[in-house]
């Protein structure tokens, strides 16, 4: 695109330079034409002044009237003026200048003749005119003037033709330059249109890609959000299960610990697996000292160990039996002994022993 505009600029500059050159040539040619016309005028003036002066001298030859001689002398003065101007106009053309100089010489000879007439006695005038009749200076001067006019007219015609051709060439050059630039600008407009279309297509493609990306991001975000929700739910389920278990255990502990009677949970072989706080409070034993100890070491049934062994084995209750409880610092407390077997399905897996203080 840049190269195209550079080319347009080059063509424009070339056309402008050519036009300026042609303009300068036209101005120069116009000056020359004006000068040539002026020279032709002056040459025609020379011919007219010569004929006027010669006419006045011929009349003087017939009339001997000094006024006719004076008129001839005035015409010769105008002739001299025309010659001076013509010489100035022809100074750039050597051949023409030389011929104008020849005209001046011929004119001077006619001026000298007039001066001689003016100073000659009247009786010698006829002789002077007779002698002058053979003089061909005037004819030569007029021929020379005519030839110069013809030459200048020919030059003008030639220059006119050149000017026409030059103007024609200028018109063609400018027209061609304008046409080329128009074509180049049209090509530029076409390229710009193509470029705009291409950019628009690229922008559309990018927008489509962005939309697709956005759609993917949204889908991915939705997936992540769903996964996050699933994780949150799983986490909540886990926490719920844990708290439910913990709550259930705490509730079970609460039930046993809230009983003021002494409660022992024992295994199938009568080892203590759990006590309630009332046991520690009433016996002085700590839980850590009692866990896994055989219950008969601490609690003695008056009837011996057999009823408890049978209860554990056969899975039946023992209610309100007399027994003694060994305190940690020594000494025994009389208690009433109740036993409930712990069943898991059809199996007895242990039992619960409840002691309450025997009333006196």
């Amino acid at each position: 695109m840049l190269a195209l505009f550079a080319l347009v600029t080059v063509v424009l500059v070339a056309v402008a330079v050519h036009a300026v050159r042609q303009l300068n040539r036209t101005v120069t040619a116009s000056d020359w034409v004006n000068r040539t016309h002026a020279l032709i005028n002056e040459l025609e003036g020379i011919a007219a002044a010569t004929q006027s002066a010669e006419g006045s001298l011929r009349i003087y030859a017939l009339t001997r009237d000094p006024r006719d001689l004076a008129a001839g002398r005035r015409s010769q003065v105008r002739l001299a003026d025309h010659l001076e101007v013509a010489g100035a106009l022809a100074r750039d053309q050597a051949e023409t200048a030389r011929q104008v100089a020849r005209l001046a010489t011929l004119a001077e000879s006619r001026s000298a003749f007039a001066r001689e007439l003016g100073s000659a006695p009247p009786e010698s005038l006829a002789t002077l005119f007779a002698v002058d009749a053979a003089n061909t200076a005037v004819e030569e001067l007029l021929r020379l003037v005519e030839r110069l006019v013809t030459e200048q007219m020919n030059l003008l015609a030639l220059r006119d033709q050149e000017s026409f051709l030059q103007a024609q060439a200028t018109r063609w050059t400018i027209g061609l330059g304008v046409a080329i630039n128009f074509l180049l600008l049209a090509a530029g407009a076409w390229l710009i249109r193509d470029d705009i279309l291409m950019r628009r297509r690229a922008a559309d493609a990018m927008a489509a890609a962005n939309a697709q990306l956005e759609s993917r991001v949204q889908a991915r975000t939705a997936e992540l959000s769903a996964a996050n929700d699933r994780l949150n739910l799983e986490n909540l389920e886990r926490r719920w299960a844990n708290q439910a278990l913990e709550h259930q255990l705490r509730y079970n502990h609460l039930i046993i610990n809230s009983i003021t009677d002494l409660v022992f949970v024992i295994t199938k072989v009568a080892n203590i697996s759990r006590i309630n706080p009332a046991v520690e409070h009433d016996t002085g034993w700590l839980a850590k000292d009692l866990i896994n100890r055989p219950l008969p070491e601490l609690v003695r049934l008056t009837a011996g160990d057999l009823p408890l062994q049978r209860g554990l084995k056969e899975g039946h209750d023992l209610r309100d039996l007399p027994a003694t409880l060994l305190r940690s610092e020594g000494g025994e407390i009389p208690v009433r002994f109740t036993f409930y077997p712990l069943r898991d399905g059809n199996n007895v897996v242990g039992g619960v022993v409840i002691l309450n203080r025997a009333t006196a």
Binding site: L233, E237, W240, L245, Q248
Partner: protein, 123 residues
């Protein structure tokens, strides 16, 4: 408009867990710790369903449920408790007083299914 569920439990963690879970499931949740707060809230913003514990600090859940139903008959209520009842007790006693009985060991998705069932039945 999503359904409004009132949760009554004296344990903060249980209230929090249920609120999070049911909010994710799309319900509007209000939680209170006591029966008095529950009655005040239900009077101000009648719920579409109530989940209540049995053992509350100043009252018990069944007493609260009776009061709520007196004010809003047909209100579905789930009794969610750590107290385990045998099937016979549930069928012959609790079922007349509550819409559903669930132990607190019930998985959350099962609780959600029960809520959806009760709300759908109430439409």
């Amino acid at each position: 408009m999503s359904h409004h569920i009132l949760i009554v439990d004296d344990e903060a963690e249980i209230r929090q867990l249920l609120e999070q879970f049911l909010s994710i499931s799309g319900y509007r949740i209000a939680t209170v710790a006591t029966a008095r707060e529950a009655l005040a809230h239900a009077a101000a913003t009648p719920p579409d369903l109530v989940i209540s514990d049995l053992q509350l600090e100043e009252s018990d859940g069944l007493d609260l449920i009776a009061k709520l139903k007196a004010a809003q008959p047909g209100l579905p209520v789930i009794l969610l408790t750590s107290v385990l009842f045998d099937r016979q007790t549930v069928e012959e006693n609790l079922s007349k007083r509550v819409s559903a009985y669930l132990p607190k060991t019930t998985p959350l998705n099962q609780l959600l299914a029960e809520i959806q069932r009760l709300l759908a039945a109430g439409k």
